[in-house]
Each structure stands twice: as C-alpha cells, then as structure tokens.
C-alpha cells in the first residue's frame, strides 16, 4: 500500500513538473491503452477517467458535474465526461492538489465505448494540440480476425507512431518497446496469480473493491516499468503470506475473516461512496472473488500476455481483448465461467446510470447467467461519479435482501442434504 501511494504520488508529481522537465504529456484512456508505446517515447500518460474517479473519491465530482451542466452538458450523458470537463473548467487541479499539465497529444484509443470519441472531440475544443485516433474494431462476433489486427497495426504505423515521433521529437525504438512489453508480460504473470488467488477459500483478496483499489490501477500507468514489476512481485508475496495464514482480504474496516458469501460482480463501482459501498459488503461477510471491471484494462486471466516478439500485433490484440470490447454473449460466458471457476454463491450487477457501454443489455445478461449457472443474480443501480445517483439506503436494502436470499438458498441446500 505504501509503495502504491508512493508510485502514484510520484507519477502525479512528474506530471505536474512535466513541462519544466521537458516531458511530453499524453492524455489517453484506460481500455486499450498503449502504455508501453508511450513509455518507449518517454512520454507521460494521463488518464481522464482516473482523474474523474479520483475526483469522485474526493467528493469533488458533484461540483465538477454541476459546472459542466452549467456549460450546457445534458443531465443524461456519461458523468465521467462531465466530471472531467468540469475539473478542467475549474482549473484542472489534479488529485494531489497540483495543477495538471495541458496535453501535448490526445491519444484517442477508441476501445469499447463510443463516448470516448465524443470526450476527445470535446477536449480538442479546449486544447490546442494534435489528436491521434486509434480505432479499435469491436468483437461483434466474439472473435478477433486477421483483418482487425491488420487494421490496427496499420493505424499504429501510419497514425499513432508518426504522431508520437512528431510530438516527442524521438524516433520510434522498437527494441525499447519490446523491452517494456517483456516487463509487462512478467508483471502480468504476477497480476494473474494474485487475481486467481481468490479461487481459494477463504479468498485472500477482494477482486472488486480491492481489485480496483490496489490490484488493478497501477497496471495502467506503470505497466512495463521496473517499478510495476516490483510492485506486483511484492503484492504477490503479500497475498501468498495471507493465503498461508488462511486470512481473508484487507478492507478499510480491517481484515475480513468471516467469508460468508462469494460473489462475482459485473460493472464499475461507485466512486463517490466507495468506502460506504465496500462496507455494505464487509458487514455481510461478502467477498468478491472475481469482477469484470478489473478487466477493462486487459483480460490477462484469459491468457493474454504482451508479446515482445510481435509487438504491434500484440498491442492490437491487447486493445481488442479489453472487457468493454467484448460482445454481450462473451461477457455472459466470462461471468458464468467465473462463477464456476471461483465457486461463487451468486453474482451482482452494479448498473451505472450514465454508462451505456456497460449498462445496455445488463438485464438480459442477468437472466442468461442465472439460467445458465443456476446461481442467483442481484441488481443494483448507482453511478460512477454522480453523487445524486447513489442512494445509500436503497442500495443497502437491495443488498440486504439479496444476501438474505443467498442465505436462504444455502439453508435450503443444507436442509435438502440433511433430509436426503
């Protein structure tokens, strides 16, 4: 945890002092991010979604969203965008209190969500810098075809790399890229080991709250670096220790040592009431053993590894494999498999009001997964960063009823066993 805080603080400090140090700053998105490629040009990535979620956690998002709405943005649209625009309108002060640098390049890696496209058109209005667009085809038929890979590789060669060269003044160094991708692949092994440790009972990690808090995020900005390698090695050792000691996950409320329910969760979390939300699970002894949101930055547990021997093709496959780029049947398959593999009691969908990319179709997913696995699904509705759409009492009530149902189901099973 200390190491994580240091790395993040360091990153934001580098960003804040980027201009003085002659570093180039690239704004880009988490899904389908080209971290290794950016780092190979010594550029610093900055992720607007991460700023938005940090603003949510720091209770600033409400104000930012209101600011964006005052500037003509609709109540109905993605609140991440509005939070980012609002933050920009209010001076672009980052999570550590330092002013964030303006971008030298907007890297629109358009993976799994159409809103990204609009988001950067909106940023482009305010920043006088080039935009590099990487269009990632959607896995509409649940597969990646050679045509799709070819299309992305061509875009990397003709659009992305030349713009990086132009902005940074550095030549593309494929060996440097290979080296960073090799590091990524090693860190990915440790990351997957940590995620899969949740197959144990009790699970030593929480793969949703913990997953987004200290397991996943460092992967985005730091993947490929020595620091990330070290971080994931340390994390693995720490989890190994907990596993040997038979301990559950660490939560803000302390150690969770009474695992009662094992859940799979679909959808992003709510950030404005993150701790309160997590506590609702903690209080019931509910541990999330697998989640889909931690796969928006890559589906490593399904076997993907960055492959330095074919760097550009591998980056293409990485981008297309991110969770948000999977079609609905693949998402259903993935969750059903998690339920089996992690022996979950049930699954829960946190439907985000302002996120069409995730939410459209979740009611169908709910029914399909229930039918396929025979495990009960729960459905709650919140928002990512708009505090107006988090009703603590409502969410708590729904969760309590859901857990009661799971307990009853389990009781029935036990009763059946006794009588048979």
């Amino acid at each position: 945890m200390v190491k994580q805080k240091e790395m993040i603080a360091d990153h934001f400090h580098h960003l804040a002092t980027a201009k003085e140090n002659g570093k180039k700053v690239i704004y880009t998105f988490v899904p389908g991010n080209l971290t290794e490629l950016m780092l190979s040009f010594d550029a610093l990535p900055l992720h607007p979604e991460i700023n938005a979620l940090q603003s949510g956690m720091r209770k600033l998002s409400g104000e930012y969203i209101a600011e964006a709405e005052r500037h003509g943005h609709s109540e109905d649209v993605c609140t991440y965008v509005k939070c980012d625009i609002g933050m920009m309108l209010k001076g672009n002060i980052g999570p550590t209190g330092e002013k964030l640098p303006e971008p030298d390049l907007l890297l629109l890696s358009y993976t799994g969500c159409f809103t990204f496209m609009k988001w950067f058109e909106l940023l482009k209005e305010r920043y006088d810098c080039p935009v590099a667009m990487l269009h990632i085809p959607y896995q509409g038929d649940g597969e990646i075809t050679p045509t799709m890979i070819d299309y992305i590789v061509k875009q990397l060669r003709t659009e992305i790399i030349p713009k990086f060269e132009q902005v940074t003044g550095q030549e593309f160094d494929i060996d440097r890229l290979r080296e960073l991708m090799g590091n990524s692949a090693r860190a990915e092994e440790d990351l997957v080991w940590v995620l899969e440790s949740a197959k144990n009972k009790p699970s030593p990690i929480d793969a949703y709250f913990g997953g987004v808090y200290y397991i996943g995020p460092l992967f985005t900005a730091f993947r490929g670096t020595e620091a990330a390698l070290e971080y994931y090695r340390m994390l693995r050792e720490e989890v190994e220790g907990r596993l040997t000691a038979g301990q559950g996950p660490i939560t803000p409320e302390g150690l969770l040592d009474n695992e009662r329910f094992r859940l799979v969760v679909e959808g992003p979390p709510n950030w404005t009431h993150f701790r309160e939300f997590w506590k609702m699970f903690h209080d019931e002894g509910a541990v999330v053993v697998a989640s889909t949101y931690t796969k928006v930055g890559g589906t490593y547990d399904r076997g993907f590894r960055h492959d330095p021997s074919r760097p550009l093709e591998s980056l293409a496959e990485y981008c297309m494999g991110c969770y948000t780029n999977l079609n609905l049947p693949s998402r259903v398959d993935m969750i059903a498999k998690y339920i089996e593999d992690y022996d979950a009691d049930g699954f829960l969908i946190n439907s985000i009001k302002s996120c069409n990319s995730f939410s459209a179709g979740q009611l169908v997913m709910l029914r399909e997964i229930e039918e396929r696995t025979g495990r009960a699904g729960g459905f709650i509705e919140t928002d990512l960063v708009d505090p107006r759409y988090f009703s603590a009492s409502n969410v708590k009530n729904r969760l309590e009823s859901y857990f009661q149902m799971l307990a009853q189901k389990r009781g029935e099973k036990q009763a059946e066993m006794v009588t048979s």
Binding site: S74, F114, E121, V131, P137, R331, E368
Partner: protein, 389 residues
C-alpha cells in the same frame, strides 16, 4: 398522374404497418430472396440488393406500440428505440426478416447486436463496424474487407454469387435514388409549401420497407404530383432539425412543429438514404467504389469521428446557409449520448456564426406535445420578430 393524397396515404399505411406486410409480400413474390433488417444509422444497401436481399429499415416503433416485454430488457435510463425493437422482435412482428444488421452507431445498438444473438440464435445477426480512420489505405481497406464479409453473409441467405457487374448495377439504382432524394429535398427547401415536412418524412420512410426500384418510382410519382399542387409561400420560420439521426421523432412531433409555425427545411432523420453525399462510381471494382465513397464522404453525424476540431459543426453551419435556415432546433432522444454530447459543440459552432437555436429532448413514443408546441412556437415567433441571427 397519381394524386398526392393517395401517395401520402399509401406511405402512411406503410409507416403504420408494424407487421411489415410490405416485406412479407415482397418475400412471397421473391421466394428466392431474403429480407434483412438494419438499424440506424448507415449500411450499404447496395450490397444487400446485389445479394438478392431486401434491406428493411427498422427504426423503432414510434408511438404506436405498447411496450410490454421490451422494458424488461432495458433500464429506464436507456433510450427508447432498443426496447421497441426488442418488442417488435419478441412479438413476432419481425418474423419475415431473415437477419438483422447492427451498424456501429453507438454502445446501445452495439450491445443490442449481442442481445439479438442471445434472443434469436437462429437468425443472422451482423455487427457492421465502420472505420473511424479515413485514410483510404487504412480505414478504406478495412471497410472494403467488411463489405466483402457483409456480402458473403448476405449471399449465405440467398445462395447467390453476384458478379461485379451485378453489384455495379445495384449501385446504379441507388445512385439514381440518391439523385431523386436530392431533388425532392431541394424542392422542399425552395418551395416548402409544395412538400410539407411531414409528407416528405412519410415518403422517405416508405424507402425503409420498399425495394429500391419501387421506392424511386414512388418519389418520381410524388414529385410529379406535387408539381401540380396549388398553393403559395407561407411566412413560417425556416428551421433545421438536428439530433434525430437514430431514434426517430414521432410523426406527431413533426406535425406539431409544422403547426407551430416551423418549416423544417432540413433534418438528419433517416441518414441511411443520403449518407454518401456523392455518387458512387459505377466503374471498376464496386466494393472499392463503395469503400472510396464512404471514406471520401466528409459529412458529419454524431456517430462519426470528426478528427479536426476546427471542422466540428461546419456541416451544420453549411446546411444552415444552403437552406437559408433561420434557426436550428436540437431535438435529440433522451439518454442519447452521441447526440447529447455533440450538442454543446454544435451549439458553439452556431454561436460563432450568430445562428439562433433551441433544444429539447424527445422519445419516439412522446405523447405530450403541448410543451414542444409552445417551445417551437415561441422560437418561430422570435425568429420572425427579430430574425434568426
């Protein structure tokens, strides 16, 4: 010569027929053919035509269908069109279709393609991904491959194997249709009293279910009939309707605008009919010709990436100038991210040119027109009193 009222009446019947009787009749008359539905915004209908497939525009059910099952598929904070399309599918109204094409318009339609795969596993569900990279060697090559895949999928339904010349012949028919639509829209802009907006809408909607040959003949008949129409210029406010590129406004909304003193002289409904601003070449490899036309088209739509910030809104401004528009009405479906995220950017482009606008949201089944009537009426009055700029 056919009479205008008869033509419009026929179009209205087609519009209201949610059983898609015209499609069933076409299939009866063409037993070797297939019919495939498509959602907004754009698909290359020429490819379907060449494969012996009737392209059928599924633009939602407007305000005519009670949603019974569709609401169990989508949360309240998702626009209306996917639920009415699901309702149409589950209630058997789309049974005459052999498949569906889902263009890459937005996340909702994208996810609907997956829902279709799960709900109708025996029917073809094709996700049509269009490039957002407009380099002919890159996005153009990807698009040409996608067109070949689409052609193959369509031929798998009919067993046809069209030659290049067949595809070029289909392109020819659609070019002709584009010319007729351009003529019709020009007439609407020049002499709006001859072609009322609601009539134009109905005539174009007929093109969503009729084969292209019949649709072109219908436009010709209509053009001939309205040429003889008696009437005169009315001092209405000339407006442009922007944001209705996917979920369609109910017909009553268009009529309400007409009654409020607004002359809608341009709009972005049914973009599929005029997505390719230019003629597609009828020479050479037809797939390459379609790809080239797509890539070269510089128009704007909320589902299309505009790489250059300086260009955003330029087409809207051009259209305002071309049609002597006095004010823009932004009418977007509620919860439509593409249209609503675009809106502030387009409004800035209008601000820079001093063009006035007003905005509201609708759903395809909006029933309460009073607020819209008042807002549009006030907007029209303001324009007439103080001018649009």
């Amino acid at each position: 010569m056919k009479n205008v009222d008869e033509i419009v009446e026929r179009c209205e019947e087609l519009y209201e027929d949610l059983e898609y009787g015209a499609v069933a009749r076409w299939k009866e008359a063409n037993p070797e053919g297939a019919a495939v539905g498509f959602l907004p915004t754009y698909i290359p209908r020429e490819v379907l035509h060449a494969a012996g497939v009737l392209p059928v525009g599924i633009l939602g059910a407007g305000d005519q269908l009670e949603i019974v099952k569709g609401d169990a598929f989508f949360q309240s904070y998702i626009c209306h069109i996917p639920r009415s399309v699901v309702e149409l599918g589950l209630s058997g109204k789309l049974d005459s279709l052999d498949g569906m094409i889902f263009p890459s318009t937005c996340d909702v339609i994208r996810n609907l393609s997956g829902i279709w795969k799960l709900q109708f596993p025996d029917k073809l569900s094709f996700y049509f991904d269009v490039p957002q990279n407009f380099d002919p060697e890159v996005g153009g090559a990807f698009y040409a491959d996608t067109l070949r895949e689409l052609l193959e999928a369509m031929c798998s339904l009919t067993g046809r194997d069209p030659k290049s010349v067949d595809l070029s012949a289909s392109i020819h028919l659609y070019n002709e249709n584009r010319r007729l639509i351009a003529k019709l829209k020009a007439l609407r802009s020049e002499e709006p009293w001859r072609v009322p907006a609601s009539e134009l809408y109905l005539v174009l909607r007929a093109g969503m279910v009729l084969p292209i040959e019949e649709f072109s003949a219908l436009i010709e008949d209509y053009l001939e009939a309205v040429a003889a129409r008696e009437g005169h210029e009315v001092d209405n406010a000339r407006v442009l309707l922007a944001g209705a590129f996917c979920e369609q406004p109910p017909l009553t909304l268009i009529r309400t605008l007409e009654r409020s003193g607004c002359e809608v002289v341009d709009d972005d409904t049914m973009l599929v009919l005029r997505w390719l601003g230019d003629e597609v070449s009828e020479e050479g490899d037809p797939i390459e010709a379609l790809a080239k036309a797509y890539i070269a088209y510089t128009g704007e739509a909320s589902c299309k990436y505009v790489p250059d910030g300086e260009q955003k809104g330029i087409q809207l401004v051009r259209s305002v100038r071309k049609h002597c528009v006095e004010g823009v009405i932004f009418a977007a479906p509620s919860f439509c991210d593409p249209a609503l995220l675009d809106r502030p950017m387009l409004q800035s482009a209008l601000d820079a040119e001093g063009i006035s606008y007003t905005a509201f949201n609708y759903a395809e089944n909006t029933g309460q027109m009073q607020p819209i009537r008042e807002q549009a009426g006030t907007f029209a009055d303001t324009i007439k009193l103080w001018g649009g700029e």
